[in-house]
Amino acid sequence: MITGGRFLALPPRPVPALRRLPGMREEPAVEVVGLVKRYGTKTAVDGLDLSVARGTVTAVLGPNGAGKTTTIETCEGYRRPDAGRVRVLGLDPIADAARLRPRIGVMLQSGGVYAGARAEEMLRHTAALHAHPLDVDMLIERFGLGSCGRTTYRRLSGGQQQRLAMAMAVVGRPELVFLDEPTAGLDPQARRATWDLVRDLRDDGVTVVLTTHHMDEAEQLSDDVAIIDGGTVIAQGSPEELCRGGAENTLRFTGRPALDLRSLLKALPSDSAAAELTPGSYRISGTVDPQLLATVTSWCAQNGVMPDRISVERHTLEDVFLELTGKELRS
């Protein structure tokens, strides 16, 4: 580190892991206002607004083709907006690219590595492009790349390729990391390991923006979720806020198909709703309390229905998404 008198110029170490306090005014890590991006006649992003607070994990959630990757790649400086304003760490991703690039880490959805490069070689190379890189041996250990360090990229498994790409995104000690579908194609164990890494990044003060089409991932990991559909953000908030936004709770049961739910609805409070999702599978939403449960079970008894697999569920992001868009996320 101490070479050629350069040690005098080393910047001071940043204050570790400054967490956001309520009311603290701080420039957001990412600020997107009215972003429009078209490819030919197709509008991929259509007036999108997104704000990412520093030190948080934000999940950009949506189905394939919703505009997630286009949005992220505009923030990374790959795409020039057709309209709108994009600021990343206060900088314009295209005009200020040279100043921005050293400060961000990028994990592309796929690729990004020479087919003939060995995993460890590529990570060491990426480290060499940065002024104060992380210790590569430590990263290899943390990302479980020890057994394949000498393997060329083209021979790595999909999961190993994903882990290498994520290690490359963090090795330069960035302030902000963009992870485009970091757990796509990973087995459950590897997904959990990646989640732990994302939490560690956040705990150390790194801002993380990730895209996913896994609801559970967004719910588990993120401080903030932006739900994207048709090129715009249709809802943004913490997972708890988003789930509260809809009905409080859900009651589900299975029984005979095609029950007449109108008589049930008459017995329920007016803010309730009942639906047969698939034949024989029912969902009651509203304020699910003991009284409502009793009403439903007595209605079942009157109709000679045995409510199998009756369950009370917390409202999930999956339901929020379904409500907002009228379609399943993973279609």
């Binding site: 910047p11 050293p102 592309l108 020479y114 492009l129 940065h130 002024a131 150390d204 790194v206």
Partner: protein, 256 residues
Amino acid sequence: MTASGTFSPRPGAAPLPRMIRAQAALETRMLLRNGEQLLLTVVIPALVLVLFGTVDIVDTGKGEAVDFLAPGVLALAVLSTAFTGQAIATGFERRYGVLKRLGVSPLPRWALMTAKTCSVLVTEVLQVALLVAIALGLGWSPHGNPAAVALLLLLGTAAFSGLGLLMAGTLRAEATLAAANLVFLLLLVGGGVMVPLDKFPDAAHSVLQLLPISALSDGLRDVLRDGAGMPWADLGILAVWAVLGLGAAARFFRWE
């Protein structure tokens, strides 16, 4: 979970010379590790030299065959690395998102191109050393001005790099692979490398001699075999190709 400080941000770009050195070293390793590329850059030029230098298959005109072939094979070496090898490698780097990913690293694009050029030059030095050793073993006696030879090789490298990058940056990787190999074969035969251009009909001759490979092999031959000074006409042709090729590559190259 508590903060361990492992990932605490401390961003910054490495000093430019270090980035370029690291990138050039990586590019050179990738090139030397690739078997198909080595076939093109080392095996074929060496085979042409040994085979046609010892067996009288092609009439190479007056004098020793090796005195005709050695300059041609040096031109072929430049063609194989600066054009064919670089086009194919860069085409697949583009296809596999390597260029895209490097585009968000601290390495500026001009520095990436500088590193690529350094890697091409290092490879050419290795090729020239090997081919000169083989030619000398076959009884080659080179003449002429080393500065003229160096200038020819450098301008040739610039011309072929421009054309190779133009191809890699505009065509699909598979198309680049096929086209770059085809061009290599055609120029091997029709570029004055192993067949003297005056064996072709006059009309063909006057067109073929304007090709960069012909200018390079002809210029090298003027100097190394005939002891000419500066082959200005050939240098001029190479300079025009270099300006056109690099200009078009800079204009049309797509990084993704």
